[in-house]
């Protein structure tokens, strides 16, 4: 791999990689059984530089903010490289957001360029708020020939002749603005510097190296910090290849393993659990004798790999299982949310290493990672090289808020000095998660200190961001909470949102019906699962903001979770 200490920016490191491995494959894009494209590093460069020149001809200079809203595909990475080459700051937005949310974040980030897929663009142009759209240059991919592009240009035609000028960026310059959450009231745009990414890449690849010939299957959205790192920067700075699938149907993802001989893949707990379920169903269908033999082999593998993994041995013992994964799989990375230990154990017993870790966008992706020395399913591993982790004000059990200090920690939240100052204190990132460090140096997570939840799909949900969905409800006042914030539980699973209602009179059936109807209009991961009736005025600041922590204290001191929360 490249020695990233020698580079000052992502653009510079990627440029060197394209020169170093011109004939290696860097990208494969498949759509069902069809292969859309396969590019070498040379071909990738030939696709990206005319786009970089086009962006420069259209006004991109050092620091210009350029957003990408695309599903995982080759044009995502080509566009990102062109932006870095031309000195831009990348704003990778979640394509799973709604069109109104795209517009909100494009405005908040003050993006001057947008690169997106046609159907996302079409939805944006039809959304409320499009009249205020201010992005100067919009490039859309795969637009039908007859489509009315509403002022946008075709990505496929966005090529300009002549060598683009490579714009040098420094380590402390902004590389990306990544929204960790908060599309409702308060967008949280993490400003990440080039140094953050270069240091994170060095830390991760020291444990999980890439090299030419390695193939990473990219299914997590590339805008997500994990995929951006292990599905772009990591493999590219090592001469490896990234495989994109245009459909994420489980059957096509399954087929991709043997077809492309996948080495690594990152996924969220929900997908890993689904994979476990699918495999278990197949094991359960085995005829009795075969099942007996399989169970014995699995038990032998478990015993022989108790202290450390032995991939060669596991592949030999459990040949068919490993063949289903293509025979080349070295590890699955799981992140974005808490992973159930039993699922980790299930895969480890099969000889499939699931690199379980802990991280957050604000810390530049991963902070800790399981190093399999030995395998522990009950922790999120040890801090990666270069990461300092400490527990703030630990209680008698050693449990307190997890704080992180490293060169991977973001610069600040975009345009939010107050939140930035609360989050980064004396150089330490306050994660808002509760944990303890055990005698082996492993971090164990035990709940949250902050009012938020993380879904199994890896989405951060802040209660205040969904309150506007309930505005107009016939109550005096309302407030949404993470249930665990009011009634803390030392666990990371089964997190729920609840709404506290202070009704004028009492909660009628009509009010309940309205509450349920509004709830249903929210995406499933943002829904409240119950309500609490609270017949007292909420404590408020002088500027009439709800004092959430005090309200939570009051509710906790008066009622228990089981008796207070009525299910919806």
């Amino acid at each position: 791999m490249l020695d990233l200490r020698d580079y000052s920016s992502l653009g510079e490191a990627l440029r060197a990689a394209l020169e170093q491995w011109p004939d290696e494959t860097c990208l494969i894009e498949a759509d069902r059984e069809r292969e859309n494209c396969r590019l070498t590093y040379r071909e990738f460069k030939e696709a990206a530089l005319p786009l970089a020149r086009f962006l420069q001809n259209n006004g991109m200079v050092s620091g210009t903010r350029a957003a990408i809203i695309m599903t995982n595909q080759s044009k995502w990475l080509i566009s990102a490289y062109a932006i870095f080459y031309a000195g831009g700051v990348l704003v990778p937005l979640d394509y799973k957001l709604s069109p109104a949310e795209y517009l909100q974040l494009l405005a908040h980030s003050r993006s001057e360029v947008l690169i997106t897929e046609y159907h996302f663009w079409r939805a944006m142009t039809q959304a409320d708020g499009f009249n205020d759209f201010k992005v100067k240059t919009v490039l859309v991919t795969e637009a039908p020939a007859s489509a009315d592009l509403k002022g946008a240009l075709r990505w496929e035609e966005a090529k300009a002749a002549g060598e683009p000028v490579f714009i040098k960026r420094e380590r402390k310059d902004w590389a990306c603005i990544v929204y960790s959450s908060g599309t409702g009231g308060r967008p949280k745009g993490c400003v990440l510097m080039h140094e953050n990414y270069l240091e994170q890449c060095m830390a991760l690849t020291s444990l999980y190296p890439f090299w030419p010939g390695v193939r990473y299957l990219s299914v997590l959205p590339t805008n997500h910090a994990i995929d951006f790192m292990v599905g772009f920067i990591g493999p590219f700075t090592c001469g490896a290849a990234v495989v994109h699938l245009r459909t994420l149907r489980p059957e096509f993802v399954r087929d991709a393993f043997p077809r492309y001989k996948i080495t690594y893949m990152a996924l969220v707990p929900m997908v890993l659990k689904n994979l476990e379920k699918g495999l278990q169903a197949r094991f359960d269908e085995l005829p009795k004798v075969k099942r007996f033999v399989f169970d014995r082999l699995r038990a032998i593998n478990r015993k022989l790999t108790r202290k450390r993994p032995n991939l060669k041995l596991s592949r030999a013992l459990l040949k068919q299982v490993h063949a289903a994964f293509g025979g080349e799989l070295r590890a699955l990375f799981v992140g974005g949310a808490f992973m159930d230990p039993s699922t980790l154990q299930f895969f480890y017993d099969l000889g499939i290493q699931v690199a379980n870790g802990y991280g957050l966008t604000e810390a530049g992706t991963a902070v800790t990672l399981n190093d399999f020395n030995p395998f522990r399913s009950d922790t999120v591993g040890r801090p990666l090289p270069g990461m300092e982790v400490k527990i703030i004000e630990p209680d008698a059990d050693g449990v307190g808020q997890v704080a992180v200090r490293s060169k991977t920690v973001m610069s600040h939240y975009l345009d939010d000095a107050e939140l930035s100052a609360e989050t980064i204190v004396d150089g330490w990132l306050m994660t808002g998660d509760l944990g303890r460090i055990d005698e082996m140096g492993h971090l164990q997570l035990l709940g949250r200190a902050k009012n938020m939840i993380v879904t199994e799909g890896g989405k951060n949900v802040y209660p205040e961001d969904i309150e506007n969905a309930f505005e107009g409800l016939a109550v005096k006042e309302l407030c949404v909470f993470a249930a665990n914030y009011i009634w803390p539980r030392r666990e990371m699973t089964g997190e729920q949102l609840i709404i506290v209602l202070n009704p004028e009179q009492e909660i009628t059936d009509a009010l309940k019906a309205d509450l349920m109807a509004r709830n249903r209009r929210l995406p499933d991961f943002k829904r409240v699962s119950g309500y609490v009736e609270w017949q007292r005025d909420f404590p408020r600041t002088a500027s009439m903001k709800i004092k959430r922590n005090i309200l939570a204290d009051e509710i906790r001191s008066q009622t228990g979770r089981e008796s207070a929360v009525k299910e919806l």
């Binding site: 599903t71 459909t247 994420l248 149907r249 489980p250 929900m270 199994e456």
Partner: protein
């Protein structure tokens, strides 16, 4: 050519069979995530079943932001 109502009815029947939920329990404006008790991955499974049934190819993005059977039927109808 099916009417949109027929398409909708076939989707409801198919979802009811596939996820083993009584047909009477689901109706066009129901949130299928909630009614069928499924996650986004299982929704993609449903999409595959619908593709096979209607012999159309539906990109993943066609189901993005869709939560009820009626809208799903509209999306499929436009591709028939």
């Amino acid at each position: 050519m099916r009417t949109q109502e027929q398409t909708l009815e076939e989707i409801l029947n198919l979802a009811s069979n596939h996820f083993k939920v009584s047909r009477e329990e689901i109706s066009p404006d129901d949130d299928f995530f909630k009614k069928l008790g499924i996650n986004s991955l299982q929704a993609l499974e449903l999409l595959t079943r619908l593709e096979n049934h209607f012999s159309v190819e539906l990109p993943d993005y066609e189901i993005q932001g869709v939560t009820d059977f009626r809208t799903l039927a509209e999306r499929i109808q436009s591709r028939l």
